[in-house]
Each structure stands twice: as structure tokens, then as C-alpha cells.
Amino acid sequence: MNSELLIQLLVNGVIVGMLYGIVAMCFVLIYKSTQVVNFAQGEFVVMGAWVCLSMVVSMGLPFWLAFLFTLAFMTAFGVVVQIILLRPLVGEPVISVIMATIGLSTFMRALMNWIFGNSAVRFPDVFSQSVVSIAGLNVETAYVLSLVLSVAVMGMFFLFFRYSRWGLAMRATAYSQQISQSLGIPIGRVFAMAWAISAVVSGIAGVVIGLVNAVSNSLSFIGIKVFPAVIVGGLDSVIGAVVGGLTIGLLENLAEFVDGQYLHIGNMYSVAPFYVLLVILMIKPYGLFGTPNIERV
């Protein structure tokens, strides 16, 4: 038993899991308030990372300015996607909506391949110190930042939904679109806002992952890993998304550990979440925190 490796992998699991959790939250946000499943979530993540990186590298902006620009850009992007692509599809069957976001993801992936290239690019050194020491453990600054940002984003989500007027409007829309519309909530704006928030937060996640690893188009794998996370947590539960993300992140790394130490099957890291997904779907399709969908005739 190699405990040092195990601890390392568990720490990795928590950090990656937090990021999965954040992206899963974005996914759940869109699903809950607009009933759309966003298969392009991973591409949103990659886009945020690329935009910020290209601002830093080619424009020579300082990191914080580039980060702010990325936030603004992703907001606009989310709104535009919602208006152009999803507004015409309101009321269409689930299959059409799923396909539309799949089409969007194909389109965005090719476009970003073209604009930003296929290779992985590292951020130039953003922090003055690359390693900080916490309680005797040497931790990379990027990891600390990613944890801090993740927790901050989750806190902001909570505050926004709990206390702000728009958060209340969004919760009302999620509860019942028809009732909230008749009470004067501008549904169209709520939808656009859900997409904007989701795009911004995915963009933040992308920047953070870009800082930890490097920016490349393969980062869109997060968009796929989100599915096991949201299924574990329940599709319409924001807390479930965080729990699910952490579970999947830890599970991946544990699978990697068990596989590397004992089983030697290989590639468990990337496939284990999908086996879990299938099992969860079989025994508890609405996840840990999701509301069961009871149909009455």
C-alpha cells in the first residue's frame, strides 16, 4: 500500500472533483431553469480558457484584466447562444434540443481547433510563487487558487439564489414556468440569464483548469465527465451537482490507484465513472438529491 501516492491522488481527486462540481452546477442550472440539456458545456469550459489565454499571450494583458474580459465575453456568448439557438426550440421535443446542443458542441469544437490550434499551451507564469507551503505540505499555487475559486463560486451561487431578486425569479421559473410567467417574471430574460451565468462560471472553471494543467481542446472532456457527476447527484439539484462532482473526482482517482496498484487493467481512470453512471441509472435514476419525476395520467 503506497499511502503517499494515495494521499496525492485523493488531493487531486478533491481538486478535480471541485471543478467537476462547478461545471456540473452550470449544467444543472441550465437544466433546471430552461429544461435544456447542454451537451456543449465542455466546449464552454474550453472557450473560457482559450479566450483568457489568448488575451494574456497575444494581447499581453495582465492576468486579472484578461480574466475580467473573459467573464464579460462569456456572458455575452451565453446570451447569444440562448437567443440564436435555443429560443427557436422552446417547446420542441427533448431529442431536438439535445441534438441542437450536440450540433453546437461539434461546431464550437471545430471552430476552436481552427482558431486556437490543436496543441496544448501553458499559461505564462501568473503567480510570483509557484509553490506555497500550507501546514508543511508543499502545494502548487494554482491548486490553492482553484480550490479558493471553486468555493467562492459555490458561495456566490448560494447567495445569489438565496437572497437576490433574480435568483428568486430563477427558482420560481425552475419550479413552474407557467405560473412564474403569469406572475410577471420575464421568462425570456431568466433563460438568457441562466445561460449567461452558466457560460461565465464554465469559463472560470476553464481558466482555473488551464492554470493547473495547460489549455488544450481536450479539456472539453470535462463536459463529458459532468454527466456521471450530475446523474450521481441528481439532475435538478445544485447541491447534488457539487456532491456528484466530488464523488466522481475522488472515484476516478481511487480507481486509478486501485488499478495501478493491484488490478493493472489500465484506463480505469477514464472509464470507471461511466460504469458508475450506468449502475446509478439502473438502481436510482434520479440520483442522490434529485426529485423523482412522478407522472400522473
Binding site: M99, T106, L111, F227, F274, L278, L281, V297
Partner: protein, 353 residues
């Protein structure tokens, strides 16, 4: 949904149950199908190998898309793992034929084996629908991809496996022209089969499950049975098409059967028209020819704007995504619907109704 006037000629009423169940509604349709088959039969003597290879691929993709159309168009279940089943069929047929089973026999056998695998993965489909099912099939896509890379005995692992050429009593299907006949045979069998299915008890049950599954269940249709059945049928056609594809290329490797292929199959049925049998072929032709048309277009444009020349590969991929989106937003019922509108306009000209 806009109203499409019935373009059948005046006086052409269906007066008997047999008339209502005919395979081809009008004589024009019968003739068009026969003409199409004859055209493909003589095409090896008319066209270059390149064009023939396009016909072959369109036929193969058409069969696979037809399977997905049974699942998505007829039963209303979505699958994001169709590409992996296609790949499974290719590997299965290569494996069977390497065991000494004649290729022509191993193709349908691969279809049946894929059907069995598809039904196993379809078990979640008995409980799930819509979105949950899409996610479950996404998982099956990745699990199967992982299996391809891992199962050396079956797929040759990362190096891939060889698929022999088909032969019938010494007649080798080794050139494009000859292979086209083989593909044509299976295209006819599967399309007639599915067109027939739509007219049977089972086919109507599938459509009932799609239209309103609760009502269907109340009417006594066994949901679990029919959902798994449609999964099995879809996988059968995917496997058969995959087998044809593998033996056509002569070499099967796992890289070709990713989620992108699954998305292409979905694009084919969306563009062709959900639930439309002939739409599957139209969509396949569209999805295969679109990137090539875009390439020509991009090359022409590149002479004006040189920057585009490195982007041709990406323009091809983007065109597929854009086609899905545009069809969903502008023409959700697919090419078949467009064709019906054109036909109605032609019949009713100069009146609009």
C-alpha cells in the same frame, strides 16, 4: 407544423385495408425506387471508382442510420452510442471471418451479435427515457470504446484487426463496383424490412410508444419489451452496416468509432427526417457529400482569402454541426418534408392549396 397538402392525385382513395398497407403509396414511388435500384446496378459501368466508393459509403451509412431511425424516429428513444455499435459490428465480423466463417455469413452474424450486445445496453432503456437514456447510451459509447482498445483477442487492441474480402462461390467482391452490389443487396433488404416493419403490429406498437407511452401502456403494449426490441433492431442494423464497412476497408481500427460517428448518425436522421425510411438514405448522402462540397467551396474561397486554406478540415467539421443546428431551427422535419412540399407545390401550381 405547417400543413402539407396531400399530393396524391384526385380519385386515388384507399378503399381497402390492403390498399392502405401497400409498401409504396403511389405508382410514382414504385417507379422511383425501381429506377434508383437500376441506376445503382448499372453505375459500376458508368462511374469512376471514387464515385462508386461514395455510393458504397452512403449505402452503409444509410443502413446504420436506418437502424437509428427505428430507435429514434419510430420509438422516440435517443441513442448517443450508435457509432460504437457500428464499430462493434465491424470488429465482430472481422473476428468471425478470421475464425473461418465465410464473410457473407459473418456479416449478418455480426449484426445478430451486435443486436445481443445492444439489447444488454438497452436494458436501462426499459426504465429510462429522453434525457436519461441519452446519457446512458453516452456511457455505453465510452465503455464500448474502452472495450475496443482493451480486448486484444477480439479487436486486435490498438493495432486493429484485418477484415477479409467477401466472396461468393469464388466470386470475389474485391473491387468497388462488385462491392457496391453487395451493399445494394443489404440496403434493399434492410430498407424493405424496415418499411415493412412500419406496417406490422410491432411497428405500430413502436410508434405508439413514441407518440404517447402512457397511452400505449394502457392499451396493453409492453413498454419494456418494445423498447428493448427497438434497441436490438437498431443495434442489428448498426452491426450489419459496421460489418459491411469493415470488409470494405479491409482493416478495422478503434479510432474510427468515436462519439463523433454517433453524432454523425444522429445528424443523418435529423437531416433526412425522423422516422422516415427513405430519409435515412437522403440524410446519409447529404452528410457525406456536405463536407466534400464545403471542401470544394473552401478551396475556391482560399484562392481569394489564403488564410482559409489551413482551415478546410475544420470547415468540414463545422459544416456538420451547422447543418444539425440549421435543420433543427429551420426545417425540423428534414429533407423528406422539403421534398413533399416541393411535390405538393408542383402538383397544385399555381394554387397554394
Amino acid at each position: 407544423m405547417t400543413h402539407v397538402p396531400n399530393p396524391r392525385p384526385t380519385g386515388d382513395f384507399r378503399t381497402s385495408y390492403a390498399g392502405d398497407r401497400t409498401l409504396f403509396a403511389t405508382r410514382f414511388e414504385t417507379n422511383a425506387v425501381i429506377a434508383g435500384v437500376l441506376f445503382v446496378l448499372v453505375s459500376p459501368f458508368l462511374f469512376s471508382d471514387y464515385i462508386l466508393s461514395q455510393f458504397i459509403i452512403i449505402g452503409i451509412y444509410g443502413i446504420a442510420a436506418l437502424g437509428l431511425n427505428v430507435l429514434t424516429g419510430m420509438t422516440g428513444q435517443i441513442s448517443l452510442g450508435h457509432g460504437a455499435f457500428f464499430g462493434f459490428g465491424a470488429f465482430a465480423s472481422a473476428w468471425f471471418s478470421s475464425r473461418g466463417i465465410p464473410v457473407l455469413l459473418s456479416m449478418p452474424m455480426a449484426g445478430v451479435l451486435t443486436m445481443a450486445v445492444g439489447m444488454v445496453f438497452g436494458i436501462p432503456a426499459a426504465r429510462l427515457k429522453g434525457l436519461y437514456l441519452a446519457i446512458a447510451t453516452l456511457a455505453s459509447q465510452y465503455i464500448l470504446e474502452d472495450f475496443f482498445a482493451r480486448a486484444d483477442w477480439f479487436t486486435g487492441g490498438t493495432s486493429g484487426s484485418l477484415a477479409e474480402t467477401a466472396n461468393l462461390f469464388g466470386f470475389q467482391f474485391d473491387s468497388d463496383g462488385r462491392y457496391l452490389y453487395l451493399v445494394l443487396f443489404w440496403v434493399i433488404v434492410s430498407f424493405v424490412g424496415v418499411a415493412n416493419l412500419a406496417r406490422t403490429r410491432d411497428g405500430r406498437a413502436l410508434v405508439a410508444v413514441r407518440d404517447h407511452y402512457l397511452s400505449a401502456e394502457i392499451m396493453g403494449i409492453n413498454l419494456t419489451h418494445y423498447r428493448i426490441l427497438s434497441f436490438g433492431l437498431a443495434s442489428f442494423f448498426a452491426g450489419l452496416a459496421g460489418a459491411l464497412y469493415g470488409h470494405y476497408l479491409g482493416f478495422v481500427s478503434a479510432e474510427g468509432f468515436t462519439i463523433i460517428l454517433s453524432i454523425e448518425f444522429l445528424a443523418i436522421i435529423i437531416i433526412g427526417g425522423l422516422g422516415s425510411v427513405s430519409g435515412s438514405l437522403l440524410g446519409a448522402a447529404f452528410i457525406l457529400l456536405l463536407p466534400q462540397a464545403m471542401e470544394t467551396f473552401a478551396n475556391a474561397l482560399a484562392t481569394l482569402v489564403p488564410a482559409i486554406s489551413q482551415g478546410t478540415a475544420y470547415i468540414k467539421q463545422m459544416s456538420v454541426g451547422a447543418a444539425i443546428i440549421l435543420f433543427l431551427v429551420l426545417e425540423p422535419e428534414g429533407l423528406v418534408h422539403r421534398w413533399r412540399l416541393m411535390r405538393a407545390n408542383w402538383k397544385l401550381f399555381p394554387f397554394s392549396h
